[in-house]
């Protein structure tokens, strides 16, 4: 079906209309193509969703044989694989274990986020190490080779999220002296360090949400071998027959990302643009977005837990933990509230899917 590019205010001399096929129009003028779709009534995105609709997603956990925990998340055409492997950090004599404990105490992430990539290598306390790999041929836009700007940004964002949410509690990461009896205060001999690797297999926008959900689900599904300090051999050994889960924080936080796309203000003044919020943007929308809004929130399912069909949004108790908005567009409080509602319903679906994978959130 040919699409006409014609000016709405037709002057006295009609410019000859230029016709293109839809796919050409999409290619030549993506911003206009997106606007035309969004100015429809009701607004429809080129991918057929309405602005507040997110993509369906699937979750598979523990499908990898060598990882201590793993998750595959597919959301539309974005697919990520997250694998977690624990390695042991042994505290050398004379080291002060309390510096690792600062992971819990540190109120801000700035120290960790900066320190881990600084000149001196890792900072104290950075026991959880998330990395994102995009050079897997997931999209033709990202070249192979060392991590580019987006991969580095994502790794850093996820690291900050892990730290700021205090997602992993240190309880299950400590490794004690095995020969002490349990009544006395046990001596910390080491820690589990968690390598979280997120590989993007297919990229079609909004990788942050998919990656974060994969990380949470993979951590949730992880089983670490029971490790203890062996005094005779003076090293940490694991028991091949006993495993324990990684304890996470009480209510799990989830991210929900929106793209802000400028559209001409329909009512009133001819000039000026308003931003339209698109839930769970794909690559095409991300390219045209003027900014990205990410909400980190927790949702309490309350009484309806376990039965998703009886959920109503009104019953959800939502707490916003973090809002990240990069850019200078004006957003009304009501728009933010709408986003929070959408984030709550998305989080409810996340939790529901986790429960279906027999990973009941604590």
């Amino acid at each position: 079906m040919p699409t006409l590019i014609r000016q709405p205010n037709s002057g006295e001399r009609q410019p000859p209309p230029l016709t293109f096929s839809t796919s050409l129009f999409r290619q030549i003028s993506p911003a206009l193509y997106l606007q035309r779709h969004l100015l429809n009534n009701p607004p429809t995105r080129p991918n057929g969703r309405n602005p507040s609709q997110c993509r369906d997603f699937t979750l598979t956990t523990n499908s990898l044989s060598h990882a201590h925990g793993s998750a595959v998340v597919r959301s539309g055409d974005t697919a990520v694989v997250c694998g977690i492997r624990g390695e042991i950090l042994t505290i050398a004599p004379g080291d002060d274990p309390s510096r690792f404990e600062s992971y819990n105490g540190s109120p801000t992430s700035a120290i960790h986020a900066c320190g881990s990539r600084g000149a001196g290598g890792a900072s104290w306390g950075g026991l959880v190490v998330p990395n994102v790999e995009l050079s897997t041929g997931c999209s033709k836009k990202y070249p192979l080779g060392p991590p580019g700007g987006l991969a580095q940004t994502l790794s850093d964002q996820l690291h900050e999220l892990v730290n700021v949410t205090k997602l992993v509690s240190l309880d299950s990461l400590r490794i004690y002296d095995g020969d002490n009896d349990t009544t006395s205060k046990m001596k910390i001999k080491g820690y589990w360090s968690l390598y979280i690797d997120v590989l993007c297999i297919s990229l079609d926008g909004n990788i942050l949400d998919a990656a974060w959900y994969a990380i949470v689900a993979a951590l949730k599904s992880s089983k670490l071998p029971f490790a203890s300090w062996n005094q005779i051999e003076e090293r940490v050994f694991c028991d091949p027959s006993r495993y324990h889960p990684i304890s996470l924080r009480q209510s799990l936080p989830f991210t929900t990302t929106f793209a802000l796309v400028p559209v001409p203000a329909s009512a009133g003044g001819e000039v000026g643009e308003v931003a339209l919020l698109l839930n769970d943007p794909d690559s095409y929308e991300e390219d045209e977005a003027c900014e990205i809004l990410t909400i980190l929130s927790t949702t309490d399912l309350g009484t309806a837990q376990g039965d998703f069909s009886q959920l109503s949004l009104g019953k959800l108790r939502t707490r916003v933990e973090k809002i990240e908005k990069r850019g200078g567009w004006k957003l009304g409080i009501s728009q933010i509230e709408d986003c929070t509602q959408l984030a709550a319903s998305k989080a409810a679906r996340y939790i529901h899917t986790l429960a279906k994978e027999q990973l009941t959130p604590m």
């Binding site: 390695e87 042991i88 950090l89 990539r117 104290w124 950075g126 940490v236 050994f237």
Partner: protein, 335 residues
């Protein structure tokens, strides 16, 4: 472990360095009892192969053979890199990259490709390059990117220390010497089959599809130690698509991996490692290669079906199997 220079583009582990978990096993017998498969030696494992799952690239495939899981993207034909070092190329330039995910094996892999990954990449290149009609795509490049998500190896046994009468034996008990060749061979054969499917999915013209096959020859444990060579030959057992665990009481002699174009009966890549006797002429090698070809032929059926997936989808959706033009009679298939 010595702290390596930090990677400024990634989040780094604690500067102390970390070590993989080491298991302490009280099983005094020590010897690892690998799981024996009930599969007959002339049967390959079930192959799960899908194509077209990645929308943002030209072609893609996903392959699963028991624990082995890999994802392949085909990018291009796309313009040559702008760097002046690339000369004009009348034919398409093929590049192949193979990378294990850090969590794909028992010992955690690094982010930078190591020598075995580069080796796999160059062998995959050899297997594919002759099959692509590169002359149809001048001054362009075709990239094949393989991401291995999971693979078969010895498991946690490589990190196990055994306790014997209060003392620990630190030495690790490997099963046999040829296991890494078998493991890499299975990976390479999977890469070849899946890459062909991805190239066909991309719609890149090829002379033939290449399927990968792998076979290992085993002899009795005593047969190898004894002096009689003829004895060893008589007890030879060929296993197609071998698992990492050797059959009970057998030791491996040699492993053969190849890329095979079934329609033209051509071998595009051949890799034999291990001991292949030449006393009986080349009969021993021929037998081993024939076994690997048989394994590749078995994979070809799955490959054919997977390659059709995208086109079949379109045919189903348009609801017609009629070809587009008039005078469309089905052509007699020869062969």
């Amino acid at each position: 472990m010595a702290a390596k220079a930090p990677d400024r583009r990634r989040n780094n582990p604690p500067s102390h360095g970390t070590t993989p978990p080491v298991f302490l096993s009280s099983a005094s017998s020590g010897a690892v009892k690998p799981k024996q498969s009930s599969r007959p030696p002339n049967e390959i494992r079930k192959i799960f192969l899908r194509t077209g799952l990645i929308s943002s690239v030209t072609g893609s495939s996903f392959l699963e053979i028991a624990p082995l899981k890999l994802s392949i993207s085909v990018l291009g034909p796309r313009p040559l890199p702008r760097t002046s070092s690339t000369p004009f190329a009348a034919q398409a330039i093929l590049t192949t990259e193979v990378k294990f995910a850090p969590f794909a094996s028992t010992v955690r892999r690094g982010y930078v490709r190591d020598s075995s990954e580069r080796d796999l990449g160059s062998r995959l290149y050899q297997a594919l390059v002759g099959a692509i009609r590169r002359e149809l795509y001048p001054k362009s490049r075709i990239e094949v990117v393989v991401t291995i998500l999971d693979s078969e190896d010895e498991g946690d046994d490589v990190n196990t220390v055994y306790m014997e009468e209060g003392k620990t034996t630190v030495e690790t008990k490997f099963w046999d010497a040829g296991r890494s060749e078998r493991a890499l061979g299975v990976v390479l054969a999977g890469c070849i089959t899946a890459a062909s499917a991805a190239l066909a999915d991309a719609g890149i013209e090829m002379f033939d599809l290449v399927s990968g096959g792998v076979a290992t020859s085993f002899v009795d444990e005593v047969g190898l130690k004894g002096k009689g060579v003829g004895d060893a030959v008589s007890n030879k057992l060929y296993v197609r698509d071998p698992a990492i665990a050797p059959p009970e009481g057998k030791v491996p002699l040699a492993t053969c991996v190849l890329g095979y174009m079934a329609a033209r009966d051509e071998i595009s890549e051949l890799w034999i490692s291990g001991k292949v006797g030449t006393k009986n002429g080349t009969a021993e090698m021929d037998e081993l290669v024939d076994e690997a070809i048989a394994a590749a032929r078995s994979a070809r059926g799955v490959l054919n079906e997977a390659a059709k997936e995208r086109v079949q989808f379109i045919v189903d959706k348009t609801g017609t199997t009629e070809p587009l033009k008039e005078e469309s009679t089905d052509v007699q298939m020869t062969g």
